[in-house]
């Protein structure tokens, strides 16, 4: 048995998630928002692996889920950053407040 209670991992992950949430909600730069989302995904992964370690003993679902999350996070980052680049080319800015084409 590990000397670290499951609670500790969950609390740390929750805090990380909330910091990421703040970043995603408040940053002006689109890349900053994306980085906040990456933090949130990492927090989720900590939870998945912690539950795998403490609750699910003879199975791989927790880790498998974490790997899928990593895959999707990478795909998401690739597409989102491509979008940022395309926005910058057409609107000359990466600031979300100035990207208001759909706001009429």
């Amino acid at each position: 048995m590990s000397s670290i209670p499951l609670n500790w991992y969950l609390i740390v992950a929750a805090l990380l998630f909330c910091i990421g949430l703040f970043g995603a909600l408040s940053r002006r730069s689109a890349i900053g928002i994306l980085m906040g989302i990456e933090l949130m995904l990492n927090a989720v992964n900590i939870n998945l692996v912690a539950f795998w370690r403490y609750v699910e003993v003879d199975g791989l679902a927790g880790q498998m889920f974490a790997i899928v999350v990593i895959t999707v996070a990478a795909a998401e980052a690739a597409v989102a950053l491509a979008l940022v680049r395309a926005l910058y080319r057409s609107r000359d800015t990466v600031t979300v407040e100035e990207i208001d084409l759909l706001k009429w």
Binding site: M1, S2, S3, I4, P5, N7, W8, Y9, L10, I11, V12, A14, L15, L16, F17, C18, I19, G20, L21, F22, L25, S26, R28, I31, G32, L34, M35, E38, L39, N45, I46, V49, A50, W52, R53, Y54, V55, E56, V57, D58, L60, Q63, M64, A66, I67, V68, I70, T71, A74, A75, E76, A77, A78, L81, A82, V84, R85, Y88, V94, E97
Partner: protein, 167 residues
């Protein structure tokens, strides 16, 4: 306090501290560097959780690939050095701060109250030759995620290429 707990606390402090520094950094580049610190802390947590494979994958994918991708994307934007004046946050940042801290307070409170009331298994997971187990799982139970992953990656590749190319 055992050594394991000490390492956990150090890694968590590194992780949360870097995360805070990341969301408050003025320059996007510096923010990305702090993000790498966070990823490293998460990798240490994975290793402490007996998930060494995921810990290494965390370094390989998040630090070695995604962070580099983000750094490259920052290089393509103006104001690489983060010198342009202007606020870091949108106008709604106080609201966001209140929301995030409320959520954090609620979750932490709930977790502390729940205490150790989980169905915790007695034994640690059997992790000898984890990569082999994972490979066998990919070919049997988790065949669908294995094949879907390649599809997701292909779609992401083509989509991003179409969006990003200067025609």
């Amino acid at each position: 306090m055992t050594l394991e707990q000490g390492i956990f606390i150090l890694a968590s402090l590194l992780m949360l501290g870097s995360a805070l520094a990341m969301v408050t950094a003025r320059s996007m580049f510096v923010a990305a560097l702090w993000m790498i610190g966070t990823f490293a802390g998460v990798a240490v947590l994975f290793i402490l959780l007996n998930a060494g494979f995921l810990g290494i994958v965390q370094i390989l994918i998040y630090i070695g690939a995604i962070a580099v991708l983000i750094l490259f994307a920052i290089m393509l934007t103006p104001d690489v050095m983060g010198l342009k004046p202007g606020p870091r946050y949108t106008g709604q940042w106080p609201l966001a701060a209140v929301m995030a801290s409320t959520l954090a307070a609620v979750i932490v409170l709930l977790l502390v109250r729940a205490g150790n009331d989980w169905h915790i298994a007695d034994a640690a997971p059997n992790v000898t030759d984890f990569a082999v187990q994972l490979g066998e799982a990919f070919m049997t139970t988790y065949l669908l995620p294995f094949e879907v992953a390649s599809g997701v990656l292909l779609v992401a590749l083509i989509g991003a290429l179409v969006i990003v190319r200067d025609e």
